[in-house]
């Protein structure tokens, strides 16, 4: 069982020059140390005195192979299938959870857009609750992708907005405005990533390869909408609450020290379903659809309602519009 892999020509996809090296550092390490790992594997297998159980040994090997894998964008289909099989096995060993991780690609002719009705939102945060459950957000750190800002009627002033309100809503004389990742068409977070761990997919969703992120948090500093969240500790989700329907670029398990954010429920929306927040909204304030389809709800809103985008002057071109009745 040799883990040493012959360097294959890496599929050159797009921009990132760091992705185009034939043999990068990670791969070289894999070749150098793979033999060593295999040797130690063999040794521990032959040593009956070792305290390692079979599962622990398998886990070590899986973790090692996960460590030396490539960026998702340059993986071949076979490599993607391999890493998904490993991740599913890791979830099984660690938590006893039977998860399914998709690698579903973008549908052709689809660019997702979102619209948010600020006259309808009443600040119930049902979307937040649904998002936490759907996306396996860290229960211990109480991570939330969506922020609902409570503001006084009359002006959109995020500096004096309150996202931590906890009283009966809607409050008199206030309105509510939800933010999340806007999936900008010109995302500043992608530009600043030094390792190419975050990128924009063809359907407009900006995704993160959680296994490639180095946790530098540049993207968090670059995002003008406070959309990204950092894992200061390893996320904890009780296995009973774990959503087993996962996507490699979406709601699969995150590690400590990596950034995550809203991905428009990539595991749902790429299969034609609505994001969990839109489905959960009890007031119908959330509209989701394909911007390229003239008969979609989102296009109707853009054509018939007064819409605006947050911080439009920054020219990040969010694909997230606000509108009023």
């Amino acid at each position: 069982m040799s883990t040493a892999r012959t360097p294959e020509p890496v599929a050159v996809t797009d921009d990132g020059s760091m992705l185009q090296k034939r043999v990068d550092r990670r791969r070289a390490l894999a070749i150098l140390l793979g033999g060593a790992a295999a040797a130690s594997q063999a040794m521990s297998a032959c040593a009956p005195l070792t305290t390692m159980s079979d599962e622990e040994r398998e886990m070590k090997l899986l973790a090692w192979r996960e460590y030396i894998k490539g960026n998702y964008r340059v993986m071949t289909e076979a490599e993607r299938a391999e890493t998904i099989a490993r991740l599913e096995r890791i979830a099984k060993i660690k938590q006893g959870a039977d998860v399914t991780i998709q690698s579903t690609g973008a549908q052709p002719g689809v660019v997702f857009g979102y619209a948010f009705n600020i006259s309808k939102c009443k600040g119930f945060r049902s979307c937040v609750e649904a998002c936490i459950n759907e996306n396996n957000l860290d229960r211990r750190a109480a991570t939330q992708y969506i922020r609902i800002f409570e503001m006084e009627d009359g002006i959109v002033d995020l500096d004096h907005a309150d996202a931590t309100f906890q009283h009966e809503v809607p409050a008199q004389g206030h309105f509510y405005m939800g933010t999340q990742c806007f999936q900008c068409a010109d995302p500043p977070c992608v530009k600043v990533c030094p390792v190419g761990a975050t990128w924009q997919e063809p359907d407009g969703i900006t995704v993160i390869d959680y296994d490639w992120c180095i946790g530098c948090r540049y993207c968090m500093a670059a995002c003008p909408y406070w959309a990204r969240r950092f894992n200061w500790s390893a996320p904890e989700v009780p296995v009973a609450e774990l959503n087993p329907n996962q996507h490699y670029l979406g709601n699969r398990e995150r590690k400590v020290g990596v950034v995550e954010k809203c991905h428009f429920c990539i595991h749902r929306t790429r299969q034609g379903r609505l994001p969990a927040c839109a489905e959960a909204c009890p007031t119908g304030a959330r509209v989701f659809g394909n911007l390229l389809d003239p008969s979609s709800e989102i296009r109707w809103v853009l054509a018939n309602k007064r819409v605006f985008r947050l911080k439009e002057d920054l020219k990040t071109e969010p694909r997230f519009w606000y509108f009023t009745d």
Binding site: A115, N117, K120, K122, G123, F124, R125, S126, V128, E129, A130, A141, A142, Q144, R147, I148, L158, D159, A161, D162, A163, T164, F165, Q166, H167, E168, V169, P170, M220, W226, R228, R229, Q271, G272, R273, L274, A276, E279, A280, C281, P282, T283, G284, V287, F288, G289, D293, P294, S295, S296, E297, I298, R299, W300, V301, A303, N304, K305, F323, D325
Partner: protein, 253 residues
Amino acid sequence: MIRRREIVAAISVAVVWMNAACGERDGAADRAALGAPHGEPTPDIARAKSDSGVLTLETTRNATLQPGALQTVYAAPVDNWQGPGSQPFEVALRTVDPTTALSRRFGTITMRTSLRVRAPDLGQYPCTSCHLGRRMVLADKRVVGAHENIQTAHPVQTGGACATCHAAGNVEFLALKSGERVTLDHTYRLCAQCHFAQAEAWAGGAHGKRLDGWQGRRVLMGCADCHDPHKPAIEPRIPFRAPRLERIRGRDQ
């Protein structure tokens, strides 16, 4: 039911009003006309008394709509409005499937279908099993509190009179101002008489909800799937827990 007594009182008043307004029969005549079959409350009527309210979530927690289950949703084409891109669409109908007739969850939305089952197929508790001769007159005066959950707060302009929306001669239909009768599934036609702007936004996709997904068959939830027609405003409530934001209010942790 904190205010059960008040509600019962209100309903009693409403029933009295209905008797007077519909002017069909008085209570004694009703009882006289009942005859033997209705002499004693049947088990069904007895059950109707306790079950007629909006069901609790516990009953239906497991009835979540699974992906792809939209195929099983009964829906009717809407021919009064056109959706975005002049596309036709459908409105979700209530079902008489006993497992889903009472209340069904779509995501975290619960369609409270307890008494809004499709009128012609109303199998379990036809209105006429309590209401005599399809009129809004109660057949058996021993059935109390059957509609105790109903608070007629809408429309305010008419003081929530039943006959503003319900067909006076037939409880299974709604009556439009034109005189046309529509079934309970097509409440949007009734609502749109006043709320025409909302109806247009609903057809376009800016108001209300679409079932299941953004792609494929477009089935919208009807007005009464979210709004209690007798009390349509969405109630204030305590929100889900606030984020932990320590350093800057409203910004990232």
